[in-house]
């Protein structure tokens, strides 16, 4: 049963230099309890895709397409409808826990206000749920933390509070936008463990937006790889890692350092820079950086085509050498 179905989502921004398209024809079907990774470099459009779904784009952003949550269209819905979705049926976690909590409100107040608003609960009822959630996100000494201000918490603690705040209303979907990027490695592991726990013990479907394939490998069932605003490859996690069908994904995988790495060899990196969104090449956006480039790549944009058994890739090559 799909909770979230997104079809042909396009996101454009009007700027002083003309219109910029940040996301092209993004589609995603998210099943109950599933975890999907959305992977890409900064600027690949992965965050804006989900901001657009929830009506959180900047003022100059416009989204077209369709986003259905439990069959109900929510894309460009009026704010009154979106406010019944956000925080209630879809929870969000952001990249920078340091600045993502309101500095002058107590942690507990911030956790409870959403639940109180959405379900009309009293402070004491919301507080009881918050205590439950704080335990779920493994915050020790919850009673004391509840009455503290964000600056009294460490970065890892704050991100746990963010996760807790996002799941207060037991949402159907949790969108985690680079939840571990700003944290140090040991704390990253703890945050991922909490998210894995959520996946195992609740029905909440998780979207994990990240640039870190290591994060994806640990928790996701499926992956979508984005490049320059488009999905270039998608499929089950094992297929993506072991039967890679797109040169960009291959480049990403090769640039992940591993223990077996030969320290005398330089780390593989994808040559060049991703194109600016207002200056995309006419053909495949990855062509200028691709090792397998063919003459057709410069002129035609390859469609996202099925690669049996369960993958899809946007490349002229059926299989990579």
């Amino acid at each position: 049963m799909s909770v979230l179905v997104c079809t042909d989502l396009n996101v454009r921004f009007r700027t002083d230099y003309g219109e910029i398209q940040a996301v092209r024809d993004f589609s995603l079907t998210l099943a109950k309890g599933e975890c999907v990774g959305v992977v890409g470099e900064s600027g690949s459009g992965k965050s804006q895709t989900f901001m657009a779904m929830l009506g959180l784009l900047a003022d100059n952003g416009r989204a077209t397409g369709s986003v259905k949550l439990d069959g109900q269209e929510i894309l460009n819905a009026p704010r009154s409808l979106l406010n019944t979705v956000r925080g209630s049926r879809v929870g969000m976690i952001f990249q920078d826990p340091m600045s993502s909590l309101t500095p002058f409100l107590k942690v507990g107040e911030q956790m409870c206000e959403g639940l109180m608003h959405h379900q009309g609960l009293s402070m004491s009822a919301a507080r009881a749920r918050a205590m439950e959630v704080l335990e779920l996100v493994r915050i020790p000494d919850a009673k004391r933390r509840f009455n503290q201000y964000p600056h009294e918490l460490s970065g890892g603690m704050k991100q746990r509070v963010m996760i807790g705040q996002a799941i207060m209303c037991k949402p159907a979907v949790l969108v985690a936008d680079e939840p571990t990027t700003a944290l140090d490695v040991t704390v990253q592991a703890q945050i991922l463990e909490i998210l894995e726990g959520l996946k195992a013990h609740t029905d909440t479907a998780i979207v994990m937006i990240t640039h870190d394939l290591g994060v994806v490998a640990g928790i996701c069932d499926r992956v979508q790889v984005m490049y320059a605003g488009r999905v270039v490859e998608e499929g089950p996690i094992d297929d993506i890692f072991h039967r890679t069908r797109h040169p960009y994904t291959q480049g990403l995988l090769r640039s992940v350092p591993g223990f077996e790495l030969d320290p005398t060899q330089p780390l593989a990196a994808i040559a060049g820079q991703p194109p600016a969104p207002d200056a995309l090449p006419p053909g495949c956006a990855f062509a200028p950086r691709c090792g397998y480039v063919t003459p057709t790549c410069a002129t035609t944009v390859p469609p996202l085509a099925v690669r049996p058994p369960a993958q899809r890739a946007a490349c002229v090559l059926e299989a990579l050498p």
Binding site: L54, L56, R79, L82, N83, T84, V85, R86, G87, S88, G91, M92, F94, D96, S99, S100, L101, T102, P103, F104, L105, E113, G114, H117, H118, Y149, H151, M162, Q165, A166
Partner: protein, 309 residues
């Protein structure tokens, strides 16, 4: 908290002393003296010499300063040179309540209306409503009170005969309306612009995105998550602004014929009435110091991150 306040008040003592010494030196260094007008007239030079001796003006500056400071310690601000028989303390005691009542009312009006305007404009940023409110605010700032005050008196006092043109009437509301309005107009403008700017600045912060992602209604996002952070620049402006407005506005007091200390200060400076000028300067400096302390205490209430000593 208490030790912080005490520390701040202790630091205030040398600050006030420095201000007293500097302003005393500056005012006595200004050309002319309190009895110049009488000199060369038909008054006996001997009488003038006696006058100067009576007020210690024949002594060296250092001695004069010492004698002034000695009086100050006992709370004596000295006699007025220009208004015989009146002490500076009396002048301040009579005029300051008038100026303070006028100034605080104007700031109060400015704060309420200015903030409402600012929040309104920020919520409708870059729309016709926003531009209208902001142009109105700019007009309030740009048109000087010596234009608005007579204009208001002319319309509401002379033509419509709704309100008295001038006079204090022991602080009756009828008498207050016009001067307070004239004084408040530029404050409304400044506060509206500060509020709008601060609201927009804060609304771009990550924590506002979080608040929106929680599905909170816009009213909660604004009044609960945005405005409190936006209050900090407003409070910073208010501290010195209140001190300025409480010590009187010469223009408003002159136009509406009000017995505040703004006039006393300017007349004192023109008459080289050293003690009057010194007295009001010390009052102003003390107000600034106290209000800055209050401002810092309010910061600590608004932002828990500042609370730790």
């Amino acid at each position: 908290m208490l030790s912080y306040i005490l520390r701040r008040l202790l630091i205030a003592i040398p600050t006030i002393l420095l201000i007293v010494v500097l302003s005393f030196l500056i005012i006595t260094a200004a050309p002319g003296g309190p009895f110049d007008a009488q000199e060369g007239g038909d008054i006996d030079p001997e009488i003038i010499a006696n006058l100067r001796a009576a007020y210690n003006l024949d002594k060296p500056i250092s001695t004069q300063l010492f004698l002034y400071m000695k009086g100050l310690v006992t709370g004596d601000l000295g006699p007025s040179f220009a208004f015989r028989g009146r002490s500076v303390s009396e002048i301040i005691a009579n005029g300051f309540p008038v100026s303070a009542q006028l100034g605080l009312s104007a700031i109060g009006v400015g704060l309420v209306i200015g903030m409402l305007f600012g929040v309104f404009a920020a919520m409708r940023k870059n729309t016709a409503a926003d531009y209208a409110v902001m142009s109105l605010s700019m007009t309030g700032i740009a048109v000087p009170t010596f234009v608005t005050a007579p204009f208001l008196a002319l319309i509401f006092g002379l033509y419509l005969k709704l309100l008295p043109i001038a006079g204090w009437g022991d602080g009756a509301l009828r008498n207050m309306i016009l001067p307070v309005t004239a004084l408040a107009l530029p404050k409304i403008g400044v506060i509206a612009r500060i509020t709008r700017g601060a609201m927009l600045e804060v609304s771009r912060a990550n924590h506002i995105r979080t608040a929106r992602s929680k599905g909170l209604p816009e009213s909660i996002v604004i009044w609960r998550h945005t405005l409190r952070a936006a209050l900090i620049p407003i409070v910073s402006y208010l501290g010195p602004a209140i001190a300025g407005v409480m010590t009187g506005s010469v223009i408003i007091e002159q136009i509406f014929g009000l017995p505040g200390i703004g006039r006393s200060f300017v007349e004192g400076a023109l008459n080289r009435d050293y003690p009057v000028v010194m007295g009001i300067t010390i009052l102003y400096a003390t107000l600034i110091i106290v209000l800055n302390l209050i401002t810092d205490l309010i910061y600590r209430v608004l932002d828990p991150r500042i609370r730790k000593d």
